[in-house]
């Protein structure tokens, strides 16, 4: 009995100590400096810089803004296994240091942006790939990925000879389902009887679905064995493996997010890249920074579509650009989406 009560006392004392310890000291954001606008700040999601895709596109927007406005912007990477509280702290630190706008790259930042935006009403916040946050000082930077994917589907259906086309998604999540849905619809509307083989590399981003070229290459080889002669990869860095496999087997690949035909890392395989379904994250980031600079910050949902030019199909590969039949079909579909006669599904 005596022992138990001693343990209880020790437990209570430890707990009390924990509370008092954390009650002392000022908060880190209180003591951070405040001054003029330092520029824009990007907070990356897991994957971070160097993914040759989504995050790097955001960085490109940041660099453009730096060059034009003389900003000294910053970009911060997350840690593995962090929670919303860490994201809140990251955004808060950036806002407090005087960055404006502060942009969360990736939908995982949504709860954090919501919380921090309420605390810093004078700072503009951006959130990429999320449209759930409605606040005066928040711009939801979202994209009609399915529209560009539809056009990719049209191009694939026109280009296939085996009547089998492939789709490889990085991670099995709603965002990537949009790419698949648009692509499938584009194929089916263009040519009846074409099979679309769909595959996702992993269930969660933590398993590396967006960052494993080897996984992409294996999946692509499997689809090629099954007869696919054109494969659309929406898989971030893993897409490089898909493009490599396509190049080895002399079939077509369709790139994603940026114009992959022009990327230095893929120069060796560029002849296999038929086209790319582009998503202009760089433009969205730059435009938000510019709107803040001009004193009229963007707010609410800013959705890029074929009509705004925020999503599009690249035509830097001559084999694609000079193929009159494909071009005609793509142009026709593009007009139909823009004027609303074709509604592209998102799932």
């Amino acid at each position: 009995m005596r022992r138990v009560s001693r343990i209880a006392v020790a437990g209570v004392a430890t707990a009390a100590l924990a509370v008092t310890v954390s009650a002392c000291g000022s908060s880190s954001s209180e003591s951070a400096g405040q001054g003029k606008n330092l520029g824009l700040a990007l907070a990356y999601d897991v994957g971070g810089k160097g993914d040759q895709s989504f995050n790097d596109a955001a960085t490109a927007g940041l660099e453009k803004a730096d060059k034009e406005f003389g900003y000294k912007s910053t970009a911060v990477e997350p840690q593995d296994g962090e929670s919303d509280a860490d994201k809140v702290q990251r955004l808060e630190t950036l806002a407090k240091q005087g960055y404006n706008p502060v942009i969360g790259v990736g939908f995982a930042y949504a709860p954090a942006v919501k919380e921090v935006a309420a605390k810093y009403p004078k700072t503009t916040f951006g959130i990429v790939d999320d449209d759930t946050i409605k606040a005066k000082n928040v711009a939801d930077l979202v994209f009609h990925e399915e529209q560009a994917s539809y056009l990719a589907g049209v191009a694939a259906a026109k280009a296939t000879k085996s009547n089998v086309v492939g789709f490889i998604g990085g991670v099995d999540v709603p965002l990537i389902h949009k790419f698949e849905a648009g692509f499938k619809q584009g194929v089916q509307d263009t040519k009846k009887g074409v099979t679309v083989k769909s595959q996702y590399l992993t269930e969660t981003a933590a398993e590396g679905g967006f960052s494993s070229p080897d996984k992409g290459e294996n999946a692509a080889n499997g689809q090629i064995d099954a007869g696919a002669d054109i494969i659309y990869a929406a898989a971030g860095l893993s897409g490089q493996g898909v493009i490599k496999a396509a190049s080895t087997h002399k079939i077509w690949a369709i790139g994603v997010d940026s114009d992959q035909y022009k990327q230095a890392a893929l120069a060796k395989y560029k002849d296999a890249i038929f086209t790319s379904a582009m998503k202009d994250v760089a433009g969205a980031v730059y435009n938000l920074a510019k709107s803040v600079k001009d004193g009229k910050p963007e707010t609410g949902e800013v959705r890029a579509s074929l009509a705004t030019g925020g999503v599009s199909l690249s035509d830097s590969n001559p084999a694609f650009k000079n193929n009159a039949e494909v071009q005609a079909a793509v142009k026709k579909a593009e007009e139909a989406i823009k004027n609303g006669t074709i509604k592209v599904k998102t799932s």
Binding site: A18, A23, E77, Q89, F107, P174, T204, A206
Partner: protein, 377 residues
């Protein structure tokens, strides 16, 4: 109470201290090699530990690490390597979140039910590995690693929108839990944050762990079986039953480790729920030598490295890479394993020397006065 044994304390503390010092020295070497100050990053990180909001983050994170590490430690004490804590806590968090979203009881019932659901789910998942081990002799290492992958796939299925998933924007969640299942925390103001209420559960679990292992028959059987299965069997312990029970308890504790966050802050399981807690738990259990107090210090240390390192990115005038902390964590694991073995051997040699000296002294005493009886030591 036991007598204060200087020798034992020295040996117990030497391992972690040597490991830490070695890790810091090696990290400094890395810093110097890349042409950076080998001291400033530590100063910056220690400075962070003085801020109250960082302290809250550290305590909250440490509570989750602590529970995960306890789960691993229970297995270790039994000579079982439960690598499956990761899958166990994620699956438990999903099921708890789903139950919390669909069941609405008053708080005083809802919260115990949720905790129980988490524990049962974790126990169920680790129990599969336990049953395989006792019936078919399957190594729990292999079984739990595979169960981690199966858990990932199962979670993918359970969070489909036509099962229990609720899509919010581009994120997939399990829907928001009913408010009666939210565990109140200690709110320290908007600038500082909130300490999860379940931090106290972590502390309580540490105390229970110590009492059960050191003060009960069951704990004795568990440790005995871990030390030597055959010796334990000879003294009447059913080894198979112990393996299964240890696995179940380990899984139950693992099932709790995601709940401080789930019940205290996120209130839903989503794509952005933290992963990898179970693997960090292994590091922490190793570093803390399966001792409840040691694990607490180790959990706080690792949480400190996690939460103080982001500041390195914003440092002025020179920014440091926050991956310094990752390097340090990796080096700590290495150093821990090596230094524990070294200290163990050093301890053995010391013991042998002492025993040798005592025997020699006893022999001399025997020669000197043959009539005196020698007390056996």
């Amino acid at each position: 109470m036991k007598k204060f044994d200087k020798e034992r304390v020295l040996l117990a503390v030497a391992g972690p201290v040597i490991a830490l010092v070695a890790a810091i020295v090696l990290t400094s070497v890395v810093l110097i090699a890349s042409g950076k100050s080998p001291i400033e990053p530590y100063v910056l990180m220690l400075q962070q530990a003085g801020y109250s909001d960082v302290q809250v983050l550290i305590i909250n994170q440490a509570s989750m690490y602590y529970l995960a590490a306890l789960a691993v430690a229970i297995g270790f004490r039994m000579n079982l390597f439960n690598i499956g804590v990761d899958g166990q806590y994620r699956l438990a968090a999903v099921i708890t979140a789903v139950v919390g979203a669909h069941l609405a009881l008053p708080s005083f019932l809802q919260i115990p039910v949720l905790l129980l659901v988490g524990m049962l789910t974790g126990a169920l998942w680790s129990g599969i590995a336990g049953v395989l081990k006792v019936t078919r002799g399957v190594s729990e290492v292999v079984a739990t690693i595979m169960l981690n992958s199966i858990a990932t796939a199962l979670i993918g299925y359970l969070t489909l929108s036509d099962v229990w998933g609720v899509q919010v924007g581009n994120n997939m969640t399990t829907g928001t839990m009913h408010k009666s299942g939210w565990f109140p925390g200690i709110d320290l103001g908007a600038d500082v944050g909130e300490i999860y209420g379940l931090v106290f559960l972590a502390v309580a679990m540490g105390i229970v762990y110590w009492i059960v292992l050191n003060r009960t028959r069951f704990g004795f059987d568990l440790r005995a079986t871990g030390e030597s299965e055959t010796a334990a069997a000879a003294s009447g312990v059913d080894a198979k039953k112990m393996v299964l029970t240890a696995m179940l308890i380990s899984g139950a504790v693992a099932g709790l480790s995601g709940l401080p966050l789930l019940l205290g802050d996120s209130h839903t399981y989503s794509l952005s729920f933290p992963t990898g807690l179970g693997f960090t738990g292994i590091t922490i259990a190793l570093l803390g030598r399966n001792n409840p107090v040691g694990i607490a210090f180790a959990a706080l240390l690792i949480a400190f490295l996690d939460k103080a390192s982001p500041a390195l990115d914003y440092a002025t005038p020179v920014a440091y890479e926050k991956e310094i902390a990752t390097i340090m964590q990796g080096l700590i694991v290495f150093a821990v394993v090596i230094s524990y073995e070294a200290v163990r051997q050093w301890g053995l040699r010391r013991q042998q020397k002492r025993v040798g000296a005592e025997l020699a002294a006893a022999a001399a005493a025997l020669n000197n006065s043959e009539k005196k009886e020698v007390a056996a030591r």
